[in-house]
């Protein structure tokens, strides 16, 4: 019986490990999962078997080093279905802030005592830039529900729902106060993909855009509204160039305002 269970792997690339907590913090659901699937590789939880063939591989982290680049190809080879979890794997992550920065080599020298040990690719890029990805789960971090719902759907043979509606939809269903309209906070909710349950607006804070762009992200219009609200070009660029800075249309809008600031 055991041998017939679907086989899972959880891989980590350049990342903070936070998205893997979606599994580690799942509590009782892990007992249910153990009846539905067998975890073959998950370094953070103790299973070390990186090249084993699996049905579903979850991948956290971006491709940021030459070694990452080699490994992701092997992971893709090993898995029937590859699911990226989190902003790093799906969008390049915070570390993609270095993309296109000319002084990058100097920074490495400034930060590390022995920079010769640092081997980085010029850019941090999402998994999909290098191999085929079957499902991308956004978030910084992803939520446990998001990952387990997707996994449950895959195990049940259903195409996972992967909503790309804006945070506003969830915010209004939850009855939170609109921080943009009532508090004039530079909330990214109207252009950001849902998934967090409108967490920041629930606490009266503006959305940071952790889950990346929503399906129809009219960033130009929202940025113009931020201008009307009195934000500087620098502040506007920082709203868009943050957790998913390498993703369109956040990237173009953010860099557009960054250039205005440079002028």
């Amino acid at each position: 019986m055991k041998n017939t269970l679907p086989r899972l792997a959880v891989h980590k690339f350049s990342s903070c490990d936070g998205c893997q907590l979606a599994f580690l913090n799942a509590g009782e659901a892990l007992l249910t999962l153990s009846r539905r699937a067998e975890i073959i590789h998950f370094s953070e939880a103790g299973w070390e078997n990186p090249l084993a063939k699996v049905d579903i591989a979850f991948v956290e982290g971006s491709i940021s080093t030459p070694k990452d680049l080699e490994r992701i190809k092997a992971v893709r080879e090993s898995a029937n279905t590859l699911v990226t979890i989190g902003a790093c794997a799906t969008a390049g992550g915070l570390q993609a802030l270095r993309n296109g920065v000319k002084q990058f080599a100097d920074w490495v020298g400034d930060v590390y005592a022995s920079p010769e040990y640092i081997q980085s690719l010029p850019e941090s890029r999402p998994i999909s830039a290098h191999v085929k990805v079957d499902l991308e789960l956004w978030g910084c971090p992803v939520t446990g529900k998001q990952v387990l719902d997707a996994l449950g759907d895959l195990l049940n043979g259903i195409t996972p729902v992967n909503s790309s509606e804006p945070v506003c939809s969830e915010c209004k269903r939850s009855g939170h106060v609109c921080v943009l309209v009532s508090k004039k906070e530079p909330c990214m909710g109207p252009v950001t993909r849902t998934g967090c349950g409108a967490l920041c607006p629930a606490f009266g804070r503006a959305c940071y855009g952790c889950f990346g762009p929503a399906e129809q992200a009219n960033t130009a219009s929202l940025a113009k509204q931020f201008e009307h609200m009195g934000l500087s070009a620098k502040d506007i660029s920082r709203r868009f160039l943050f957790i998913t800075s390498a993703t369109q249309p956040f990237s173009d809008t953010g860099h557009g305002y960054l250039e205005q600031e440079d002028v």
């Binding site: 659901a29 249910t32 999962l33 009846r35 539905r36 387990l148 719902d149 996994l151 449950g152 759907d153 195990l155 049940n156 259903i158 729902v161 790309s164 509606e165 804006p166 506003c168 939809s169 209004k172 269903r173 939850s174 009855g175 106060v177 609109c178 943009l180 309209v181 009532s182 508090k183 004039k184 909330c187 909710g189 109207p190 252009v191 009266g204 929503a214 399906e215 129809q216 009219n218 130009a220 219009s221 929202l222 113009k224 509204q225």
Partner: protein, 363 residues
């Protein structure tokens, strides 16, 4: 028409007590976190006394209002809609049984609600929602269960916001029907009218005096002023033909440049009723929960049919919303879907104004 009575502010608590005696949970407005929010209240002190509200395109701000008034504001983002049409609710669960699948219906828990503070625009919206959810071929049992036993205590609008235009749609500022009790506030209390036997029965227990002619004149004056103070208006209450003949108007592109497709307008619109149904299969694979949630014609799944997105662009989605609301709504419900509450204007993060857009499209 029953004779109007007068309910002094000092006797409002008696009304609350009568409602409680009759087994109603009272829902009313409160000033909360910089907005007017409807929630359960027990005491009249919880009402937004001395609160005013400034609303404009993309802006809403609580301010100090007249100290001796508790209804000196127009509206908050929501009133009746979420109380009857739940933002998200489970409908049924399906599970493996001995002889195949078993479907368990999930019925909503309901209470008899007395809602105080609904505006005439909200009453018009309630009529439309009733028509949609209850009067078609397939009445909605969840909406129906919540609607049953609802007691409506309307408060006529003496302080419209800059975003209000109910006078032009014919839905306010005074309520004509669809209420059990209707109040018009002045500095000392309310002129009270009843619109149903339930309303009369409750008022009869309060031993109120008949309203004086001066009190009734003040109330009528206040409502006349509320109507004449409105600066926004919809150009005509039937834009069906004129909008449907302008589906290729260049202004749709102009709106689409500003529109965020965030769906806030549809979420706060008291007549919008679109929902999506979602299926959540359990990780264990033995049951699945079927729910529905508010959806929006600005969202991805609204225009998606198997294998095809019918409205891939924001322009098409905004056009869908506006032409449904102001044009094809007439075919469906015999009136426009806009009740002039202005919520979509105040709650749009970029301040898109339905009255301005409609006017631009007529040019």
């Amino acid at each position: 028409m029953p004779i109007p009575h007068y309910l002094p502010h000092s006797s409002l608590q008696q009304l609350f007590e009568a409602l409680t005696e009759d087994g109603y949970a009272i829902v009313g407005p409160q000033a909360k976190e910089n907005r007017i929010d409807f929630g359960e209240i027990r005491n009249t002190a919880e009402l937004p006394w001395g609160i005013g509200l400034i609303q404009d395109a993309g802006a809403s701000q609580l301010v100090d209002g007249p100290k001796n008034r508790c209804f000196a504001w127009a509206n908050g983002p929501q009133a009746m809609k979420p109380l009857l049409f739940a933002p998200r609710e489970p409908l049924w669960q399906i599970r493996h049984g001995k002889n195949g699948y078993v479907v368990d219906a999930i019925n909503p828990e309901t209470r008899r609600l007395a809602v105080i503070g609904l505006r005439p625009c909200d009453l018009s919206a309630l009529r439309i929602q009733d028509q949609h959810f209850l009067e078609g071929q397939y009445p909605d049992s969840h909406y129906g269960a919540r609607r049953e036993g609802l007691l409506v205590i309307a408060v006529n609008c003496t302080h419209p916001a800059a975003t209000c235009f109910c006078a032009s749609t014919g839905d306010g500022p005074g309520a004509k029907e669809s209420f059990d009790i209707a109040l018009t506030e002045d500095d000392n209390g309310f002129v009270v009218e009843t619109g149903s036997p339930e309303g009369e029965q409750i008022l009869a227990r309060l031993a109120l005096k008949e309203a004086l002619s001066t009190q009734m004149e003040t109330a009528a004056d206040n409502l006349r002023n509320a109507a004449s103070s409105q600066r926004r208006s919809l150009v005509s209450d039937n834009l069906r033909d004129v909008l449907m003949s302008r589906l290729d108007h260049p202004h749709w592109d102009e709106v689409a440049e500003r529109c965020l497709a965030c769906g806030n307008c549809t979420a706060v619109c008291p007549t919008c009723f679109c929902h999506a149904e979602i299926e959540e299969a359990s990780l264990g694979g033995n049951h699945s929960l079927h729910s529905r949630e508010w959806d929006s014609c600005f969202g991805e799944r609204h225009g998606y049919i198997h294998g095809k997105q019918l409205r891939p662009e924001i322009k098409q989605r905004y056009r869908q919303w506006l032409t449904h609301k102001l044009a094809t709504w007439h075919d469906q419900f015999g009136r426009s879907g806009c009740v002039g509450c202005g919520r979509c204007i105040a709650c749009c993060p970029v301040g898109i104004d339905i009255t301005e857009e409609a006017a631009a499209l007529l040019k």
